[in-house]
């Protein structure tokens, strides 16, 4: 379960960054919120990149299937990227209500995505990728920068 555990803890770390930014917006501290939101979006986008450039590629090459679950996950990443952009706009224009509304959508969208990954895709990865290949993939993912 090393893939699932590694990736799940990244999901949770992003959730915490997300919650911190939301808290600052509620408190009206947009300077701090901007900083925290940037952290959240960077970490999330880096996580997506790890998946798209490493994990999914390995999964696709082993299963020979690039039209299956990974395609859906890539598509959902695009949806999340879209909302990240809108949230950044809301922070920039100091629009608290728009931010909190988008935050709600983002949270549901992202958590649905994460649930599917944690329960299906990562579980499949842990099942089909050989142990040494898993360790190598984890190492490669660690190196990925935005």
């Amino acid at each position: 379960m090393i893939i699932t555990n590694y990736m799940r803890s990244e999901h949770r770390a992003c959730d915490e960054l997300f919650a911190d930014a939301e808290k600052s917006v509620i408190d009206g501290d947009f300077t701090k919120a901007e900083e925290q939101f940037l952290k959240f979006s960077n970490e999330t986008l880096r996580h997506f990149k790890k998946e798209e450039d490493e994990l999914f590629v390995v999964f696709e090459s082993i299963t020979g299937n690039s039209e299956g679950p990974t395609r859906v996950m890539r598509f959902e990443h695009e949806q999340v990227r879209g909302v990240i952009g809108k949230m950044a706009e809301a922070i920039e224009s100091r629009d608290k209500d728009a931010y909190l509304s988008l935050a709600e959508s983002m949270m549901i969208l992202l958590q649905q995505h994460n649930m599917k990954e944690e329960q299906m895709l990562y579980a499949m990865c842990d099942r089909v990728i050989p142990q040494d290949k898993k360790e190598e993939t984890l190492k490669n993912m660690d190196k990925i920068e935005l």
Partner: protein, 412 residues
């Protein structure tokens, strides 16, 4: 290899699948409150309007939506299946109510057992079959499997009882026992297990809370289901079930306490209506189970259990509906897709929470006082409560179709 995941872009069912059940749940809620308001004092009717008309409608709608996400289960041609279930369920409930209110017409019992039982069994067996195929079970998907199993048991017993009362089966001596088992599985199995299964995912992920203890996510639902099975055997053999009841209640009280503690330690700051509904629901669950063994407080046990289930249902509906409207419209490429807060504003949810809170406080107080005026007041609050949620679901639905009609989507 992929059939268990079966992820596809189309896996989110069309919005109509979910909304039709939610709107029906709201309508039955209003019908129920009108029955209460006009003092139609038939507890069989009230219980089934609430349990099937309101709760099962909302819960089936939510299941259609959540099975793909929480359990990775895809239901093929969901629109058609939901339509069939929806029609049979609505018609079946009306027939059942008529059967209970005339109580002498055997054909009403026969037709309601076939239509209502058929519709519900069709839906639950469909979900059961997909859930049992899952390879990598999470605590939530396993929990849903046990909840659905409890639902199937509840339905079968219900059908048997309808046929017995209608005179088609000859075992009136079993009726009381069957009734007790039927209610146990409905209340502690279907409703409670489903809520627990959902909470294991939703609480931690959406409110960013610490994890539930592993021992709880691993064994709680299994233990509760086993206790229900043992309880049924004891009921059947006419043996006292008090020990089982105490264990069952203690486990659930611990669960509610742990859930309240998770919510208290949540990292997400928003104290919106849904957090309040979850908290109040858990408090009511604790009240319900701690009064379970005191005979004079039976009314409080029932009232607070109903309040618990409705709290969680409302918490879910107020998140699901605006999300789905936003999600489907943006996915279809409508730039004009309204944001969640413009579909149902959080303030509206908070107002509903206060209506709901007041209602259950009055109900609990009045279970001691028994004032006629308070009774009328609480029935008015009940009517407002269900009208409130129905109104907001309908408004959200209209916004969805309005955008679809009035604008052109961008293809991408």
């Amino acid at each position: 290899m992929f059939n268990q995941g079966g992820l596809s872009l189309e896996q989110a069912p069309p919005i109509s699948v979910v909304l039709r059940f939610f709107i029906t749940g709201g309508i039955f809620g209003v019908i129920l409150s009108l029955f209460m308001l006009f003092n139609i004092d038939n507890s069989l009717i009230i219980v089934h309007l609430l349990g099937l008309g309101v709760m099962a409608s909302f819960m089936l709608g939510a299941m259609f939506q959540m099975l793909p996400v929480i359990a990775g289960v895809v239901i093929k041609t969901p629109t058609k299946k939901a339509l069939v279930v929806h029609i049979l369920l609505s018609l079946g409930i009306l027939l059942q109510i008529s059967a209970f209110s005339t109580s002498s017409n055997p054909y009403l019992y026969l037709s309601s057992s076939i239509i209502l039982g058929g519709g519900l069994l069709y839906a639950s067996i469909l979900m059961f079959k997909r859930l049992i195929e899952i390879k990598d079970h999470s605590s939530s998907s396993k929990g849903m499997l046990f909840a659905i199993s409890s639902f199937i048991i509840t339905i079968i017993l219900g059908v048997v009882m309808l046929l017995t009362i209608g005179g088609y089966l000859d075992m009136p001596y079993l009726l009381l026992k069957l009734r007790d088992i039927h209610y146990s599985f409905a209340i502690f199995g279907w409703v409670t297990l489903l809520i627990i299964a959902i909470s294991f995912q939703v609480i931690e992920m959406f409110f960013v809370t610490p994890k539930y203890p592993t021992i709880m996510t691993k064994y709680l639902i299994l233990s509760l289901f086993s206790l229900l099975v043992i309880k049924s055997i004891l009921i059947f053999s006419s043996i006292d079930t008090i020990l089982i009841d105490i264990t069952l209640s203690s486990l659930l009280i611990i669960y509610a306490g742990v859930t309240l503690h998770r919510l208290y330690r949540r990292r997400r700051p928003t104290a919106d209506g849904s957090v309040w509904f979850w908290r109040f629901g858990m408090i009511l669950l604790i009240i319900s189970l701690s009064t379970f063994f005191i005979d004079n407080l039976r009314d409080i046990t029932y009232i607070s259990f109903i309040g618990f289930a409705l709290s969680i249902i409302f918490a879910m509906v107020y998140k699901i509906v605006p999300f789905l409207v936003w999600f489907h419209l943006s996915n279809q490429g409508y730039m004009e897709a309204p944001m969640m807060h413009d579909i149902i504003h959080p303030k509206r949810v908070k107002i509903h929470f206060f209506i709901h809170l007041t209602l259950f406080i009055i109900l609990i107080i009045n279970s001691f006082l028994n004032f006629t005026t308070l009774n009328i007041v609480s029935n008015i609050f009940l009517t407002i409560s269900f009208s409130w949620i129905l109104y907001h679901i309908v408004i959200a639905t209209r916004k969805y179709y309005y955008i679809q009609r009035s604008f052109t989507p961008i293809k991408w």
